[in-house]
């Protein structure tokens, strides 16, 4: 998960250590907006070779939700 967490930290402009499954995607310093979602699709594709659906991703509220989505997509 390291590469994924590092990438998410870059997208949210926080330290990699701040990224945990509980990390809130909409927080005081960042919006879970279309740019963040598009960036996450590219990151997940690069890390896991899985293309996530933008709408499903938009419904995620935490990093853990994204990880669950990746796990589900990986099984399909």
């Amino acid at each position: 998960m390291t590469k994924f967490y590092e990438g998410m930290a870059e997208i949210f402009e926080v330290e990699p250590a701040d990224i945990t499954p509980q990390f809130e995607l909409s927080n005081a310093s960042a919006d879970w907006d279309s740019l963040a979602i598009v960036s996450t699709i590219a990151l997940v594709d690069d890390c896991f070779n899985v293309t996530l659906d933008g709408e499903a991703l938009a419904a995620c509220t935490t990093i853990g939700d994204i990880e669950a989505l990746v796990a589900k997509a990986g099984k399909e």
Partner: protein, 339 residues
Amino acid sequence: MTSYAKIADLAGYLPPTILDNEELAALYPSWTASKIFEKTGIRTRHVAAPDETAGDLAYQAARALFARGTISAADVDFVILCTQAPDYVLPTTACLLQDRLGISTGAGALDVNLGCSGFVYCLSLAKGLVESGSARCVLVLTADTYSKYIHPLDKSVRTLFGDAAAATAVVACEAGQAPIGPFVFGTDGSGANNLIVEAGAARTPRSAATALEHTDESGNVRSRDNLYMAGAKILSFSLNEVPRAAAALMDKTGTSTETIDYFVLHQANRFMLDALRKKLKVSEAQLPIHVEECGNTVSSTIPLTLAAMRDEGCFDTEKKLMLIGFGVGYSWAACLLNF
């Protein structure tokens, strides 16, 4: 020796008005100029004047091509204009350009309505015309003015797109093998709604209702008269279909990524191109990025990139290229090019 089509020369035209990241950042409080550059790789976009059409831009690009001296208006016996912003509903803008450019009335002329895939499609049409003996010198013009479709407060597209035109001369040559092609094509109209200007043509004429503005969840403002892009869907489409098209073309031609000197992709933005480079597993040197000065210029991105690479000396010795156009439609196409 057989008569084949080749690209003899190309030239571009960017309208003089510039839209930079500082101006955009002032409009979009959540984004700084440096963040826009970091995400898109774009510093400036060129914007057509209010009274300047895609036809005008194409005219300037053709004049710039003729000024280089490789071909003249008198040589041209077919004009293909790729645009999604024609001067009129009718007549065909390519017909107007035949007259304005002083091209013979013996020439054929037609418009192609495609966006980011358009240049590769036009190359295939030009090749077909030349190699069937129907034409000797095809003037391929690509021109668009998406800025006129974009709402000023829609940062999702205004940060990306720029207006431009390019002119490419496709001529007959004697050669041992075809410099252009083979091609692979693809279309998926089920994605039509994800990159669209909904109002303004026959299905949905412009009206007071279509001009109603709304703000989306990311704070972007637009109406149905404006360009809409579902960024996440376009990215997913591109990440799926572009590598598949590249693989299909390599399979068809028995080539591999190592034997291709340059992958010249539609220049959507740096973010998209970085993601595609990782998927294609090619080096940074193999996948040129030419968006910093002009942004995503729709069907002109590939010829503008080729012209810039030519000016940098990339083609001082012949190179093997793969061109891939992809986007609105959805429509995509890829071809090999010895240039």
